[in-house]
Amino acid sequence: MYEMMSHYAGAIGMPPVSVLTTIFGAFCVAFAVIICWGRLVEDFGPIGGMMAAAFIIGTFWVLNHKLPGFGINPELIPHPEGGSKQFGLIYQGFRGAAPWVDMGTAIAAGMWVCGLCETGRGGRVRNAVESAPRVLATIAGGIVGGAIVGLIGWTGANLFGYK
């Protein structure tokens, strides 16, 4: 079984079993957010949105992205082939050396597809084209923010060591 599950790992870049866990994790978080978040906001207003952030995103972060942490294995559990073992549903390629794929991808894609399906049949292409610049602007914003936060690892600043 395990042999079969890992047979195509080279061809598709990840073990097939990880395809299953990734799709399942992405499906769960996107479905829960689309169904629950709007209703929570309707019922509780902005406090409902903050509750949703804690309960939905926080809890699904444990499911999708957790790593062994405080009180369990704060130093991470080493993988026999190097790197650390993964425990989250969403697979991070090359034992964590690949760029981080966040479950936000799944949520945003789910929201977008849901909106597309809720549009009437005539206006789908028009709505998709209309949403494109907004999606691209959001992605561009994420690129700016992520790149600048990534740069702090490159400064090599010596805050408290200089004389």
């Binding site: 996107a30 790593l67 405080f70």
Partner: protein, 127 residues
């Protein structure tokens, strides 16, 4: 103008998530990650979607701050750890497939499930 605030909102959300979240789980483990979700996503959602920094109109396709978190995570790892973009592609595609499936199903649920078809106005995607 609204596209500019969309970029700014996305940048703040991406920077907060990947500046705060890894440090929180490294310091406090699982509970730190949960707490990071609460403080980061709550304030980002309030700014981006409740106040409306990310441009969304009623009746249009919902643009979520998840796009910003997604691109930010990839670029953050590329810049900070010199990771190769192509290596994350399989996971990215799987995430998009899973999310898309959930969107398809959720649209049907919203159309047919009695909880979404009471006399109160129907829920749009988030607000």
């Amino acid at each position: 103008m609204r596209l500019l605030t969309t970029v700014v909102g996305g940048a703040i959300c991406g920077a907060l998530v990947f500046g705060v979240w890894p440090e929180m789980w490294k310091s406090y483990g699982i509970m730190g990650g949960w707490l990071a979700a609460t403080i980061v996503i709550a304030i980002c959602w309030y700014m981006n979607h409740w106040i409306g920094m990310i441009w969304n109109e009623p009746g249009r396709i919902w643009v979520d701050q998840g796009w910003a978190v997604s691109s930010s995570g990839i670029v953050w790892a590329v810049v900070r750890f010199r990771a190769e973009f192509l290596q994350c592609l399989p996971t990215l595609v799987c995430c998009l497939i899973g999310g898309g499936l959930a969107g398809l199903l959720a649209a049907q649920v919203k159309k047919r499930h009695p909880a979404f078809n009471r006399k109160s106005p129907e829920a749009v995607c988030t607000k």
